[in-house]
Symmetry: C4
Amino acid sequence: MKRFVDWYVSDRLVMAVIVLNATALVLHEMAARGTPLRTLWYWIDYACVVYFLVEAVLKIRRDGWSDYWSSSWNKFDFLVVIISLPALLGPFFHVEQFAFVLILRLGRLFRLFRLLRFIPNLDHLVLGVRRALRASIGVFLALFLINLILAVMATLLFRDLDPEHFGNPVVSGYSIFQVFTVEGWNEIAEGLEERAVEENPAGAKLLVSGTRVFFVVAVLIGGILGLSLANAVFVDEMMMDNTETLERKIDAMTEELRRLRSDLGS
Amino acid sequence: MKRFVDWYVSDRLVMAVIVLNATALVLHEMAARGTPLRTLWYWIDYACVVYFLVEAVLKIRRDGWSDYWSSSWNKFDFLVVIISLPALLGPFFHVEQFAFVLILRLGRLFRLFRLLRFIPNLDHLVLGVRRALRASIGVFLALFLINLILAVMATLLFRDLDPEHFGNPVVSGYSIFQVFTVEGWNEIAEGLEERAVEENPAGAKLLVSGTRVFFVVAVLIGGILGLSLANAVFVDEMMMDNTETLERKIDAMTEELRRLRSDLGS
Amino acid sequence: MKRFVDWYVSDRLVMAVIVLNATALVLHEMAARGTPLRTLWYWIDYACVVYFLVEAVLKIRRDGWSDYWSSSWNKFDFLVVIISLPALLGPFFHVEQFAFVLILRLGRLFRLFRLLRFIPNLDHLVLGVRRALRASIGVFLALFLINLILAVMATLLFRDLDPEHFGNPVVSGYSIFQVFTVEGWNEIAEGLEERAVEENPAGAKLLVSGTRVFFVVAVLIGGILGLSLANAVFVDEMMMDNTETLERKIDAMTEELRRLRSDLGS
Amino acid sequence: MKRFVDWYVSDRLVMAVIVLNATALVLHEMAARGTPLRTLWYWIDYACVVYFLVEAVLKIRRDGWSDYWSSSWNKFDFLVVIISLPALLGPFFHVEQFAFVLILRLGRLFRLFRLLRFIPNLDHLVLGVRRALRASIGVFLALFLINLILAVMATLLFRDLDPEHFGNPVVSGYSIFQVFTVEGWNEIAEGLEERAVEENPAGAKLLVSGTRVFFVVAVLIGGILGLSLANAVFVDEMMMDNTETLERKIDAMTEELRRLRSDLGS
């Protein structure tokens, strides 16, 4: 019995079922509605959910609850099982309630997230991303606030000309974000310019120039400067490791030297 | 009394009012004109302005003018209060003069800028940006001059074909800037090519080829080379810190070693 | 005879024929069908194939098979010759079979690949790319999985609104990849928003907001964070060399110092 | 007299005239044809050309030809003067010959290039760019060759579907370059897909999938991998300086240590 349990919850089998489940989830969406293939993939997904449920139960029984719960991977797996439970009722009730459907879909997505386990050195990567994000939090916060300020400015300036892009601060914030990604910034500017010329052909020249200055500044701050800075902070943080190794080595050597000197002095 | 002043000008309360004010400013713009909600947010903003005015007065009285003025944050806050003063007159006069409205709006934007205080280690970030900008000033100046030269070149070449994009050097400069951001560079080139074919179907082939070479070179110089260089200079400047730490440590060790040698020699 | 063979398989002549062959292949495609120029370039390509065949035979006879096969460049050249052999039959049979034409074209492309030999320090570059790719495999795998998860999510959310972009997980994956390259992400979002408004003008507001949040998150994760991370890992890996040199030097010095200390102690 | 010459060829005055000349050249193009303003700027440009001519003559007389010619800045200035000479004849002949007009325009552009002198530490920047380019020549050559290979491949695959973008290898090369800049890559792919569906609705599915794979690979190689690699090489080259300083310091210290050891040994 114990051997069966060990085999059942072995990493290898779990990994295989995760891949099978992901395949089933994707191919289930690929198949046209009402085809037998779709039904097949549905039942394979169903079997995987049952497998995951049994896996969690067996693991908890084997390791005890506190041991099981100490691993953050297990916590995540348990959450996936809980969210997937309603899916087990799927075949028996034909409810088409929105909330129920939503939960089913959420469960499917969470089961896909288990694929993240395949990333080698995920902990290392997550640590790196977290450290880089913490180091660049200032840059991102600054960009967010500058986005907010530019959005309010754009709302005050362009609200009447182009309500679709700058009708209120939230909509403006989305448009400014788009400008920050450098994608289609010129089209927004062109749209504004055209409407400015339409509305007031005489006084449009100043408005067009002002608009262009506004957008050039926004692109330079958000798209060029902001991105470069965030990038530089990332690289800086990644390289910190190497330099720290060097520093430690040099410190060790200085210590050695000092000891040598005190040896000689005595 | 002193306790009340300290509480009133405490960082915590000031921060809270800054957030409240920013929220009021954004939601004021979100609300439709003439709704009571808009009026509510208007008066909350008004109260914040009064709060900031009293805060500045209390701080100046407590610390004395020269102490107050020595902090650049205080200077900025004082400027915001001065610019916001006309807003206090808002409810009593219903002036719709352009200049007055402009000042009111400027005041609102400046009050938003106070949010920048929330960026952790802002001084550090500003210092980093300033250093990076100073290091890359050559790159940016070079890009600006190359933009200017390409703009005059494009004006001479394409003015008659596409006056909208290349009618005069300033308009061309804007178009070349767009090419430097790599956004929509191909659309500008395509527009030129189409008109070249329209105007002179026989001789268009050479012109189309020349146009393409011009744009490929502009994209390579501005979008690829320029950006990469600026990026590299940024990273270089950010990392300088680490290397300088290393250099200082190594220098210290070399000094130690030299002293050891002279100790032994004597 | 030996001198002739050495001249025939000398790097210089081989390089010249590679360039001639690439030129012939490109200009053959440039020339209009049925012109004598096209025929000329065809026969020059033909002559190059014959040259490459003879080169391989001579080299194998000179060096012996095992020596010849030990170089990976030779392996590649041999493969090119094998794939090019059917081209020698071209003038005698006028087969228009799809499979045969495909093989001929494949041969032409592979002959172009021989140009890669001109890259100075190709081994070094390939090594660098391979090391950088190995270091960033985690980032890319994570991006691939996040792409997959976002694609399934988008399929569940937007399938009915925009089947062209989100009809099934594979199509969605392509659209999400496009969003990750930041190219045209806003147009996909706009298309979704327009259809949402068309279908259900009353409830569209929430859907539009949700869509925007989805796309902003996708752009931030894939286009900004993912690219920056991959970039940082690349730079980190490239710089490893330098730091490793430093580390080795410092290690050597520490060793020296330790030896000095033991010398003095004894 | 000597004092006048020194004043005339002083850096300050030369700089001022360069700026004046650039301003004149830009504003001359800004002014509408036939206006007196345009004439004014024309004559100011004319005066600047005269000034540059006299400057070159005076400098050569003062320093002697070999001294003058030893500075590369002087060489460039001399070239500008030579190219600008025809402009001095402008007012006397009203030739509208194409070749003459071209030379006049070239002269104007070259006079603008003198602005590059204003970049602080230009030599340093040029050196950095040259070193970075030399280091990344392999990456760029590889990208160029991959572009060529993909272009020939695209010509063979898509020539009949979309002759405008892939009609011959040169046109394809331009389209692939566009894909490498990530700008509008999806639009080219979409165009191909639409035509594939139009021409052969039954068999289009495979072609559409193949097209998408082709473009995704091209974007990944050129836009993501290529750019990141070039970027990493740039940063690497910029940082080399710092590491070299460190290496030199460590080498010096090791030398010191070795000397100390030999002192003690003797």
